[in-house]
């Protein structure tokens, strides 16, 4: 989409980064060069799990259709994000974990660069746009992980921008039909949350229909959006699993066990530091509604209310809420700022905003961003070409993951026999780091029976020994503080075969 802000072609200093470019470069280099890169890959172990699947697909030139990483669930498998797994694995094959970080950092930087461009295109001044993007970054940063969901964040932003443009009359019907269904084909193969796009179109359709019913709009827009929804729905079947993918996702979302699976599917806990950004965004939204009192369209009510509700149900919707609400906030606050010119405070603000906007228009995007990419590629590629050690070491941290135990098990495979029982949090890591052994469980939700059995063993509860027998568990690899370790320590049937400050490995006495 074109930047429609005035004087966009006035760029006398193309080498100087614009504010959008500064956001991109700061995020890109910050995430690649600081310890944030470790957090990107190791906040949970899903990054490892996705890379393992991606590597398998690259090696076999086929889409994964059977789960071959667990010993508990070796049946048909509906891959929900095969394309992003291939992308991450290809980057990983080139530069190791640095490559995975490179992809994730590029996606994150592009999302907030695009959000800034969208706000500027929506006539927001550069100062307000930058402040709002910083708040959005703070709110969404808890989900900055090297996982396929970053593709969903990017595509949510693009869909929301296109749909908003269409509703405002800046984007033609032909354009949305040309862009969105093909993007849906891409999305459905990149990440399972492609339904976000369908929900967004449905909200715009319903909102337009409400506006038409209240005679503030014609029904034509609602009908066009309804047809677009059908086109995108049809496009979503263009994936290796067809309708089975939709069935799998719906059954997954309907499962009552879902919120117990991981904290990101649970309601947000406002006690955590990670939620402070979201609280700040809610505060700005609340103050805007109370002080600015913008006239909301039916679509805007649906978007804010609907996604607000989804976010209260699942913390993982916080970034999506942020990316949808921030442009609306920008629009309302811009209109408010335009009408408030009398007070000295506002005059002062407008003076500053004009200065910043003038600077921003004079600066460039492509040259500084290109330079940052080049620098990063050189940092990653030169040691590889020269055969030296990489400049950046990016590995799973040994204080949170069983790196020592994995090394020991590879050196002494004879110390354990039978099947493994592992902690939930380590599943993905073990699948990647110990590919010759199948894990018991990872972050994917397979079926209720397996999940309940896992809970019986993990808690542990009465019947844990029966469950161990059922799955022929011969050894365990668990964090030192895991309660099952205390039971195994006392049991005469188990012996400790490895221990360090992080991990205990118990083996069944034969």
């Amino acid at each position: 989409m074109k930047d429609t802000s005035p004087h966009t072609d006035a760029r006398p200093h193309r080498w100087l980064p614009s504010l959008s470019a500064m956001i991109w470069i700061t995020l890109f280099l910050g995430l690649n060069l600081t310890s944030a890169r470790i957090v990107l890959i190791s906040a949970d172990s899903d990054a490892a799990w996705h890379r393992r699947f991606g590597e398998w697909m690259i090696q076999h030139h086929a889409i994964v259709r059977e789960n071959n990483v667990l010993h508990t669930h070796q049946s048909s498998f509906v891959s929900m994000e095969w394309l992003s797994e291939v992308v991450y694995a290809a980057a990983g094959n080139l530069f190791g974990w640095n490559g995975v970080v490179l992809v994730a950092a590029t996606l994150i930087a592009t999302i907030y660069w695009l959000l800034h461009r969208q706000l500027l295109a929506d006539s927001c001044d550069a100062l307000l746009a930058t402040v709002l993007v910083l708040v959005a970054m703070l709110a969404a940063s808890m989900h900055w992980l090297a996982r396929p969901l970053l593709f969903t964040h990017l595509l949510t932003l693009v869909f929301a921008w296109q749909l908003r443009g269409f509703q405002q009359g800046r984007v033609s019907a032909r354009q949305v039909f040309f862009f969105l269904p093909p993007l849906m084909v891409l999305w459905v193969n990149l990440h399972g949350a492609f339904m976000t796009g369908l929900v967004l179109i449905a909200m715009y359709t319903l909102g337009s229909a409400c506006s038409a019913w209240r005679k503030t709009n014609s029904y034509m827009k609602a009908i066009t959006l309804a047809v677009l929804l059908l086109f995108c729905l049809a496009a979503s079947f263009a994936n290796p699993n067809g309708w089975k993918l939709h069935a799998q996702i719906l059954s997954f979302l309907h499962s009552p066990e879902l919120s117990n699976l991981t904290t990101e599917f649970a309601s947000p806990s406002f006690h955590t530091v990670g939620m402070q950004g979201f609280l700040l965004l809610l505060l700005i939204l609340g103050v805007t509604l109370m002080v600015v009192r913008p006239p909301l369209s039916a679509t805007e009510v649906l978007l804010v209310g609907g996604w607000g509700c989804f976010t209260l149900f699942s913390a993982r919707n916080v970034p999506i809420f942020t990316l949808i609400v921030t442009p609306l906030l920008g629009h309302w606050l811009t209109n408010f700022a335009r009408t408030e010119r009398r007070s000295p405070w506002w005059q002062h603000y407008h003076k500053w905003a004009e200065r910043v906007t003038t600077f921003d228009r004079a600066a460039g995007n492509a040259v500084p961003i290109g330079a940052a990419i080049l620098c990063m590629l050189l940092i990653l590629a030169i040691p590889r070409i020269a055969g030296n050690d990489p400049v950046l070491t990016t590995e799973f941290p040994s204080r949170r993951y069983p790196t020592g135990a994995v090394t020991h098990l590879r050196e002494h495979p004879e110390i354990v026999h039978g099947e493994m029982f592992n902690s939930f949090f380590w599943g993905g890591y073990l699948e990647f780091a110990l590919p010759e052994r199948n894990a018991f469980f990872d972050a994917e939700f397979y079926n209720v029976e397996l999940w309940r059995d896992f809970q019986t063993m993990d808690e542990p509860k009465h019947g844990w020994e029966d469950a161990f027998t059922k799955y022929r568990i011969g050894w365990t690899i668990l964090p030192v503080q895991h309660p099952l370790n205390r039971i195994l320590e006392l049991s005469p049937h188990w012996s400790l075969v490895f221990s360090n400050q992080q991990t205990l490995v118990f083996s069944l006495v034969s």
């Binding site: 006690h271 505060l283 609340g286 509604l289 109370m290 009510v301 209310g305 006392l490």
Partner: protein
């Protein structure tokens, strides 16, 4: 014909007195039993308020800052009269009166019967997950009275009346429940709102003078209430204890009722509906809120999102703001409905009838109220009483069961109970380490010379004790399991 307020009062009262709510009010956690037991001890021994701990073996003899001694005495008197049902009656009367007062306040402020009853019912729905027979029910009532006094002050600016009312309210509130802090938070919000009004009104002399007078009055009332709050048996130490507890991230994260709401739970639907109505009111009605009203909305919504147990206080403090906004923008059909309701219920002669129905419900048909044996270790307690010789020495019990065991097994001292602030972070951590089977799980058992445990059968600690040499399972059913250390 009773008025709508009287109907609402009676409806809430009867719902709470009926099953299953009656049992839920006393059996949702162990705290109703805990407060009853402490109150009973004070009544029996005459140690009012209680000064040292006599209920646990882990903190026995240590000084107690009794936060709720007055409500504990009231619950104990009710318990003496009618057992657990007496506790239910006290709490049900408090809760029904709170929401009836709220309804009357909404009606007075909006003049719209339809909006007033809608918002009062919505507030009751949002708050009902915390309708328990515990001292915090007193805080609901005092919050409603407090809010009413402040809203009146907003209208008539009578500093003297505000000072008298809030000062008089502070005195019992500070002795009934530590929720009095909510009153001070609200006063602080009003004070901040007055500061903002002062700043915004600096170009308008009349407005500025009004704001300054308001600010002075509120400052005086805060000082007065602050001084009144010291009139409790523990003086400033009560405030100190409350702040220490709230300052402990570990304890506030550990306690389930201090957690943020889980919107997957059906219990949270009322709160979700409240948030939806708040958002729709702001988005569609677009009310012009005063700085104080805006701050109240923001602060209490934040506090309710942060800690689930603040939801009833949000509903009580913010209901008048929502109701006023909705009444101002109500469409003609709502006004017609309000008019019809006013015709029917304007003149009330039903007070006597409502009172009689309530008395009959409370006195004439008291059904037994028991702790459900499927959730509480009722049978295990019977076993312990039948075999006292087996249970000498110190007990290790589940945290939630602590209050119940104080009441059901007064001859034994507990390891821990619901008085988290009294036990403090170090003991709660020890309890948690043992329950969670962390590496040092046996250390608290040794340190406190624990010789028997009473835990839910599903508790993982039972699995470890079953394997630990010297420990033997002496009782087990679906609910509870008892392990005993062999002498």
């Amino acid at each position: 014909m009773p008025s709508l307020t009287q109907w609402l009062w009676l409806m809430i009262l009867l719902i709470l007195l009926a099953q299953p709510w009656r049992t839920m009010m006393v059996a949702s956690d162990g705290d109703p039993c805990l407060h009853w037991r402490i109150g009973e001890y004070m009544l029996t021994t005459g140690h009012i308020p209680i000064r040292t701990d006599v209920f646990s073996h882990t903190r026995y003899g240590q000084p107690i800052v009794s936060k709720e001694w007055l409500s504990e005495l009231i619950f104990a008197v009710a318990g003496r009269l009618r057992g657990l049902y007496g506790l239910v009656v006290v709490a049900a009367l408090l809760i029904a009166t709170t929401f009836a007062l709220l309804h009357r306040q909404l009606l007075r402020e909006t003049g719209n019967h339809a909006v007033a009853i809608f918002v009062a019912l919505l507030a009751a729905w949002a708050a009902c997950t915390h309708w328990l027979a515990r001292p915090h029910a007193f805080s609901f009532l005092f919050a409603a009275l407090w809010c009413d006094a402040l809203r009146r002050f907003e209208r008539d600016a009578s500093a003297l009346r505000l000072g008298v009312v809030l000062g008089v309210l502070t005195l019992p509130w500070v002795n009934l429940h530590s929720g009095y802090l909510a009153g001070f938070i609200t006063l602080g919000v009003y004070w901040l709102g007055a500061v903002i009004e002062l700043v915004l009104g600096r170009t308008d002399r009349v407005r500025w003078l009004v704001a300054r007078r308001k600010l002075r009055a509120l400052t005086g009332v805060i000082v007065l209430c602050g001084l009144a709050s010291l009139l409790n048996p523990n003086g400033y130490r009560l405030h100190l204890l409350n702040f220490q507890f709230l300052h402990s991230d570990y304890l506030t994260n550990w306690l389930a009722e201090y957690a943020s709401s889980n919107f997957h739970d059906i219990d949270s639907r009322g709160f979700l509906a409240w948030l939806a109505v708040t958002f729709l009111t702001l988005a569609l009605v677009r009310p012009r809120l005063s700085p104080t009203a805006g701050l109240m909305l923001i602060v209490w919504t934040y506090l309710a999102l942060y800690v689930g147990r603040n939801i009833p206080l949000l509903a009580i403090f913010v209901a008048p703001i929502l109701a006023t906004a909705l009444a101002d923008a109500s469409p003609p059909w709502v006004r017609r409905l309000s008019g019809r309701l006013a015709e029917t219920y304007a003149v009330s002669h039903g007070g006597l009838l409502v009172g009689m129905v309530a008395i009959v419900a409370i006195v004439a048909w008291p059904r037994p109220t028991e702790m459900p044996p499927k959730k509480w270790p009722v049978a295990a307690v019977d076993y312990i009483r039948q075999h006292p010789e087996q249970f000498e020495g110190n007990m290790f019990n589940q945290y939630v069961w602590g209050g119940y065991l104080l009441h059901a097994l007064p001859e034994h001292r507990v390891f821990v109970d619901g008085r988290t602030d009294f036990y403090g972070e170090s003991l709660i951590r020890q309890y948690d380490d043992t329950s969670a089977l962390r590496t040092n799980w046996m250390q608290p058992l040794d340190q406190y010379h624990v010789s028997w445990t009473l835990l839910p059968t599903e508790q993982r600690l039972n699995l470890a004790l079953a394997l630990l040499p010297g420990w033997q399972c002496v009782y087990s059913n679906e609910v509870a399991t008892i392990f005993r250390k062999q002498p």
